[in-house]
């Protein structure tokens, strides 16, 4: 029971982990980002989304954007001490003092089709049938409903989405014929969060006729 979701947007940034300070996007959507979009529409601890295929529908183009960003994170111990004494003085971050200017090389005008299915996890209870979750996802996606607005890599690049019903044709691929096959190199597959491991896993992304086959997360060709 695979689902097919058409997603598109004006910009996208699927940040390469090796170039994350001045962000550089991957050429295409990562399976991890695709999973995030599906989870934004429907997810429960009982299911795990698995991305099978990513169709690239638009030519791959980049644009650079430099923004003023903040280099500091909220400090938990400061917050804890403020909470204890019951006042918030000195908790804020003064943006001028931790100012970073960072460029991001982002994708422009992207569109993909995500083909995915889900498996049940051991958190599934007796009431969690695959059919129930599938129809919940289909209902939400076809009506434009979402738990939170899905995004293309980062939250400022909101994603539009539409369900492709069973049997309906895929949207046309606008890639030039000689650009439909490419070796995209090693790409992040997803991050393994089990037991707090937070371990990234990679796979060799190859585009064949505009389509990237994504191996299962625990397959042999997915490496640490």
């Amino acid at each position: 029971m695979p689902v097919r979701l058409h997603v598109w947007g004006e910009r996208a940034c699927f940040t390469r982990p090796e170039m994350k300070v001045e962000r550089v996007s991957y050429d295409v959507m990562t399976p991890s980002a695709a999973r995030g979009i599906l989870e934004a529409i429907h997810w429960k601890p009982a299911i795990r989304w698995q991305v099978d295929r990513i169709h690239v529908l638009k030519p791959i183009r980049f644009q650079s954007i430099r923004r003023n960003e903040v280099g500091a994170k909220a400090n938990a111990s400061n917050a804890a001490s403020a909470m204890k004494r019951g006042d918030t003085s000195g908790l804020g971050i003064v943006v001028e003092e931790s100012r970073l200017q960072r460029a991001a090389l982002v994708l422009v005008d992207v569109a993909y089709v995500i083909e995915a299915h889900f498996t049940m996890t051991d958190k599934a209870g007796p009431e969690d049938t695959p059919a129930k979750h599938l129809s919940m996802f289909n209902r939400r996606a076809s009506q434009g409903q979402c738990f939170h607005r899905p995004c293309l890599g980062t939250r400022e690049f909101a994603a539009e989405f539409a369900l492709i019903p069973d049997g309906a044709p895929l949207p046309p691929c606008e890639l030039e014929p000689d650009r439909r096959d490419a070796d995209l190199g090693w790409m992040l597959h997803d991050i393994d969060f089990t037991d707090g491991r937070n371990e990234s896993r990679f796979f060799r992304a190859e585009m064949r006729n505009g389509v990237i086959e994504v191996p299962p997360f625990h397959a042999e060709e997915v490496v640490r």
Binding site: A74, G90, I93
Partner: protein, 311 residues
């Protein structure tokens, strides 16, 4: 505190600039941001969020629960902190506090407390090193880049100053220096935004972003430019805020279908044409809000969606 927001919203914000620079590009010597492919002007999401934060800080001052985490400029809080350090220097028990976030319950209480006190964390979220949910709070409100309706033509304006900074400059340049300003003669920008209700009202993930907070957000969007005057900005103003209210948390319609209902037109000498239409080729460039018209298609609105015009 009113109850957390439990309806999904989308909004379209129109604002314009006259003879000012709405958002400088640090990569291009502070020129107005441009989409290099279409020459449309851009204003980044973070620039808009900054103005919302500044407005809330102004409007709410020291009101409890409305502090701004990402503050700009000198904050009184730092003065308070100094006072605190002077009176009770022993409060720095970092080692003890470092253990706290490991405990899920306490970490969650910490996050909840931050959400309750800081308006911007409740609204936009924040990365906090609390170790819960990857250590970050996602806020319900999300902005995208604003884009000008038509291509803009930034102008570089050279200006002189009848004084010099250093004595050497005074000697070399006769006491006068030159500078540059970048302006957009006129630009109408359109931004899209989202309010994801579950991120406000969900029992675990919700930040408690309330109906009152939402009202304050709308107010901020309508008035934020009125309190952001500066030499660089020129005249900026919010022209229209169109809100789509869904009658449930997950929404009743596709966002893009709702956004498509709002259309921008060019107006000249009594005739109205779509933006970019060849019929407008010989028209003079837009220089005021009256050169544009915005229409909202209200026919056949999906059930459960309501259109609200705030300004």
């Amino acid at each position: 505190m009113s109850k957390p927001v439990s309806n999904r919203y989308e909004f379209v914000l129109y604002f314009d600039v006259a003879n000012g620079n709405p958002n400088g590009d640090p990569d291009a010597g502070n020129m107005p941001r441009l989409d290099p492919e279409t020459n449309q002007g851009l204003v980044s999401d973070v620039a808009l969020k900054r103005k919302v934060r500044n407005f809330v800080a102004l409007a709410k001052g020291d009101a409890p629960g409305h502090e701004i985490y990402m503050s700009e400029g000198a904050t009184l809080n730092n003065q308070h902190k100094k006072a605190w350090a002077a009176i009770m220097p022993e409060v720095n028990k970092d080692e003890e506090f470092k253990k706290l976030p490991k405990d899920q319950q306490k970490a969650r209480a910490l996050t909840a407390w931050m959400c309750a006190n800081f308006w911007d964390i409740r609204t936009f979220g924040a990365v906090m090193t609390t170790g819960v949910n990857a250590g970050q709070v996602r806020g319900p409100v999300q902005f995208t880049f604003a884009r000008s309706v038509e291509p803009i033509l930034p102008l570089e304006v050279s200006i002189t100053r009848m004084a010099a900074t250093t004595e050497k400059d005074t000697d070399d340049k006769g006491g006068r220096t030159m500078g540059r300003k970048h302006i957009v003669p006129y630009g109408l920008y359109r931004a899209h935004g989202f309010v994801s209700a579950p991120l406000a009202s969900h029992p675990v993930k919700g930040t408690g972003f309330s109906e009152d907070d939402l009202e304050l957000l709308w107010q901020a969007l309508c008035q934020m430019f009125d309190h952001d005057r500066s030499a660089a900005r020129g005249e900026m103003a919010t022209r229209k805020l169109i809100i789509f209210r869904h009658d449930c948390a997950l929404g009743n319609a596709q966002a893009q279908a709702l956004f498509d209902r709002v259309k921008t037109w060019r107006v000249h000498a009594g005739s109205t044409q779509p933006v970019g239409s060849p019929a407008t080729d010989n028209w003079p460039p837009a220089r005021q809000w009256a050169d544009y018209a915005v229409t909202i298609d209200r026919d056949g609105l999906p059930a459960g969606v309501e259109i609200i015009e705030k300004c």
